[in-house]
Symmetry: C2
Subunit: 144 residues, 2 copies
Amino acid sequence: MAIKDNNVSMNLFRDKCKEHNLRITPQRTVIYKELHKSKDHPSADAIFRKARKVFPNISFDTVNRTVLTFAKIGLVNVVEGCGGPKRFDSDTESHHHLRCIKCNRIIDFHNKDYDSMEIPDEIKNKFTVLRKRVCIEGVCSKCR
Amino acid sequence: MAIKDNNVSMNLFRDKCKEHNLRITPQRTVIYKELHKSKDHPSADAIFRKARKVFPNISFDTVNRTVLTFAKIGLVNVVEGCGGPKRFDSDTESHHHLRCIKCNRIIDFHNKDYDSMEIPDEIKNKFTVLRKRVCIEGVCSKCR
DNA sequence: AACTATATAGGAATAATTCCTATTTGTCAA
DNA sequence: TTGACAAATAGGAATTATTCCTATATAGTT
Ligand SMILES: [Mn+2]
Ligand SMILES: [Mn+2]
Ligand SMILES: [Zn+2]
Ligand SMILES: [Zn+2]
């Protein structure tokens, strides 16, 4: 099952790259793999440190440029933080986030009611909606 | 009415400062006034540029330190962005945000249904909730 | 008015991100 | 297969955002 999920997501990666005429490089491949493995919404620097274990002289700029490119083509999302480094999320399905203001952890949660909340028409009319998400801010169990 | 609102909010500012033993300095006063006037969720730098017109040699560090202090005592909120400089909001009442991914504008909207959405107990149990907000991400009318 | 703990200005240091460019490489067509 | 070449990378510089440092000034108290 894990293997199948990986195959599915690596196919998604390859398809999206081809769709946007992006070359499938070893760097992009390892960066996407690390993003897909991470459940903790890593920063570019966190991905850089992991990618480095595979390619010791990959540059930070390559990692940063690549995750931003992935975000641009919709392969990953940049998720809401409060300042600080950008955080990336390879899960593009509808879900929601808890954010701990002490340790900056971003924790996923799923909620059908939240998913199905309608966006008012007056917003849809004047704003092209790409995503809707509930952000709950507070202090996580580890931090109190 | 605007005058009254200003008085109310300046009293809130003074009370909160006294409550936390923060001195009421001219710098803090002008910073809070600018925050309260701004409806666009300014960054520390945006507030700095405005405060400078009143006190030409106020330092950026003072502005930054002060808005972070205000956030700490709950006088303002740091609002969700996606990387980039922190953005501040003097409106601490429940409301929600549209965020334009092109121009980084953060636009307020109010919605009773969103306000009244319950937070599941399993979240409340393991997480100290301070705030809940719906973030809608997309492209604003000016940007398309 | 004097005292003193707190706050500020200004500059330095650090962290996060983006830019620059010589070199390398993935892809495609021969 | 092999070469051609547009695209991507590494490495470092530059830029932007934030935090730290410290001598001086001042708000609030006595
Ligand atoms: Mn997530
Ligand atoms: Mn707001
Ligand atoms: Zn935490
Ligand atoms: Zn816009």
